[in-house]
Amino acid sequence: MTSMPSLILSTAARVLLPLLVLFSIFLLLRGHDLPGGGFIGGLVGASGYTLYLFAFDSSAARAALRMDPRTMVGLGLVIATLSGVIGTFVRGEPFFTSQWWEVYVPIFGEMKLSSPLIFDLGVYMVVLGSVMTIVLTLAEAEE
């Protein structure tokens, strides 16, 4: 894919990848009551890695991802499934009942953590993993 490497693109991609990943995590955390969430967060994250793939090549993108995308899909599904049974094991409530915890974080103050957030984290990983599986497979087939 890098028959004619573009200096501008590769320099920009190096800066943009961490920014896009940060932005995708911001979207993931924001998602319960405001626009955002695991799905859209995962897509933004995947766009960052895809940009990186365009600027360099598929092995560089794989290295930047650090985890095999298919394993990521599986782990995400496991996390999403487990988030539904937390309430059952802790409080004996029906499956997929939302659990909320108040956590005190220095500087930020009171924060709310919840099992829907864990579910969203699973969705984030599934979306990022499956988009990257598709993109990497296509790129490697072309190479």
């Binding site: 394993t71 899909v73 599986g74 782990l75 995400g76 599904l77 539904g84 059952t88 029906p94 499956f95």
Partner: protein
């Protein structure tokens, strides 16, 4: 809080996710498949006993109360179907260890298997029609992928028909659900049953139209006449373990949905619906068995027979008496066990001979006498020879039809039984009895780590179940009668979901 209701859905979801996470390790996936389906079978047994002892069980997902949230309901029908799913899944998983090539396993056979099971169990347990649609999609997408795994030309051809007709069926289902929601503003099955029962006279016509849409959609999924042609076109193409699981489970989901909808929700215009179901079922029987008689390929014969046997189940629903429905339930269970087993046998014969064509097969009785015995048990049971499971299923069903004085239908059902025996004898004579032909193809090479006994184990187990269902026919019949009485009196279901005074 009842954990056992959601377990049959959560177990395959969890194991599917886990085997995707370890997709690099073939060994881990194989272990997870056996453990996961074994756990599913155990949870199915637990669920059946809990339902039997305490009546219909209900759990509200996310603690959102019915009729607003999604409920999971396990009455006896649902619990029996889940047990059936667990049984089929476990035997298919063990069989797959020896029958699935490494190529299939590397391309995600086991994760897809788990996801298919999650969809099937979800469809059996949900008490919400939109949720039912979602589970149908889950199992369909998994089945699309399973069907084309391996990517042979014949598979693609079968899969195109399968995918197209099932997408049409899903679109019809979604339309019907939309109409229901527009009409009464609810999606909860129990709530719908109450609202349709009190509906104004001016809506009766529209409700019948909606009922027909549901019937078409589920009829396609169950492979009933005239919407069955996708089944014989696709079921013989994938690997045998997949065919066996499809024949044992997937059409049964359509049958289950028909049973659920037309005993619980659409009970107003009963006469019209019953007439359609009875004649639809009868024609399905005849067409299926004639199709089977015309074919000379092991798996094609079996696939066409599935169509014919689905006819019996739909006929039982159409008769609508407790006895007939009990017969239909026994039939559903018996047919899954026996048909899956026959597909398994065809897999072993392929491994020994390298072909599915009856003309090229032969001499199996001499080469594998025990396999012949196991085939005979399943084949005679399918044809309804006493004392095997099929005899009691057919006996109860025919008795139910005679009680209602449906003479013609009864006669056709018995004649179809004879024709079934005819095509089973054809397989017996061609594949097992006659001497092996001289220009027989060579058997395919066996991959290491695939011992033959792993293929025999599930066949022996399922054959034993077919025999035991016959010997303990009375206990099976009592259970089916209890389930049929629960279906007959829809108040039991409604009160379990909505409380005493809905």
């Amino acid at each position: 809080m009842r954990p056992e209701i959601a377990l049959p859905i959560l177990i395959p979801l969890f194991f599917g996710a886990l085997s995707l996470a370890v997709w690099r390790s073939r060994l881990a996936q194989r272990w997870l498949a056996v453990i996961g389906t074994g756990a599913l079978l155990a949870s199915g047994i637990w669920l059946l006993f809990a339902t039997l002892n305490q009546g219909p069980l209900v759990t509200t997902l996310g603690d959102w109360q019915a009729p607003f949230g999604i409920v999971l309901v396990s009455d006896l029908l649902g619990a029996i179907m889940v047990l059936l799913a667990g049984l089929m899944a476990f035997s298919a998983a063990v069989y797959s260890l020896a029958a699935m090539g490494e190529g299939h396993e590397r391309f995600g056979y086991y994760p897809l298997l788990h996801m298919l099971l999650a969809g099937v169990c979800g469809a059996f347990l949900t008490g919400d029609i939109f949720n039912l649609f979602v589970w149908f999609e889950v199992l369909l997408i998994a089945s699309f992928a399973l069907l084309i795994l391996g990517g042979e030309r014949a598979q693609m051809e079968g899969a195109i028909k399968y995918v197209t007709i099932n997408l049409i069926s899903s679109a019809v289902l979604l339309t019907a659900i939309g109409l229901v929601y527009g009409l009464v503003g609810s999606l909860n099955m129990a709530d719908l049953a109450v609202k349709f029962a009190d509906a104004d006279a001016e809506h009766t016509g529209l409700i019948t139209v909606i009922a027909m849409l549901f019937m078409i959609s589920f009829g396609i999924k169950a492979a009933a006449f005239p919407l069955f042609f996708w089944l014989p076109a696709s079921y013989h193409t994938p690997p045998v373990a997949v065919s066996a699981l499809f024949a044992g489970l997937l059409t049964k989901v359509g049958v289950y949905a028909l049973y659920r909808f037309f005993t619980l929700i659409f009970t107003q215009d009963a006469e019209l619906i019953q007439t359609i179901l009875i004649w639809g079922g009868t024609i399905t029987m005849v067409v299926g068995v004639l199709g089977a008689a015309a074919h000379f390929e092991f798996r094609r014969i079996l696939a066409f027979h599935s169509v014919s046997q689905i006819g019996y189940m739909i006929l039982a629903l159409g008769l609508m008496s407790p006895l007939a429905i009990a017969g239909g339930l026994i039939y559903t269970f018996h047919h899954s066990v026996v048909k899956t087993n026959l597909f398994f046998v065809s897999g072993v014969s392929y491994r020994l001979r390298g072909t599915h064509e009856l003309k090229e097969l032969g001499g199996l009785y001499r080469a594998a006498p025990w396999l012949s015995l196991l085939f005979l048990i399943s084949a005679l049971s399918l044809a309804g020879i006493p004392p095997l499971s099929g005899f009691f299923a057919k006996f109860v069903l025919v008795r139910g039809a005679l009680d209602l004085q449906f003479w013609v239908v009864t006669g056709i059902a018995l004649a179809v039984g004879l024709l079934t025996l005819f095509s089973m004898t054809k397989i017996w004579a061609e594949a097992f009895w006659k001497a092996a032909p001289e220009n027989a193809p060579t058997p395919p090479p066996v991959e290491p780590g695939q011992p033959l006994y792993l293929m025999y184990l599930p066949i022996i187990g399922l054959a034993a179940i077919a025999v035991l269902m016959g010997i303990f026919g009375e206990a099976v019949f009592e259970l089916a009668m209890l389930a049929a009485e629960q279906l007959e009196d829809s108040r039991i279901y409604i009160e379990a979901v909505l409380g005493e005074n809905p």
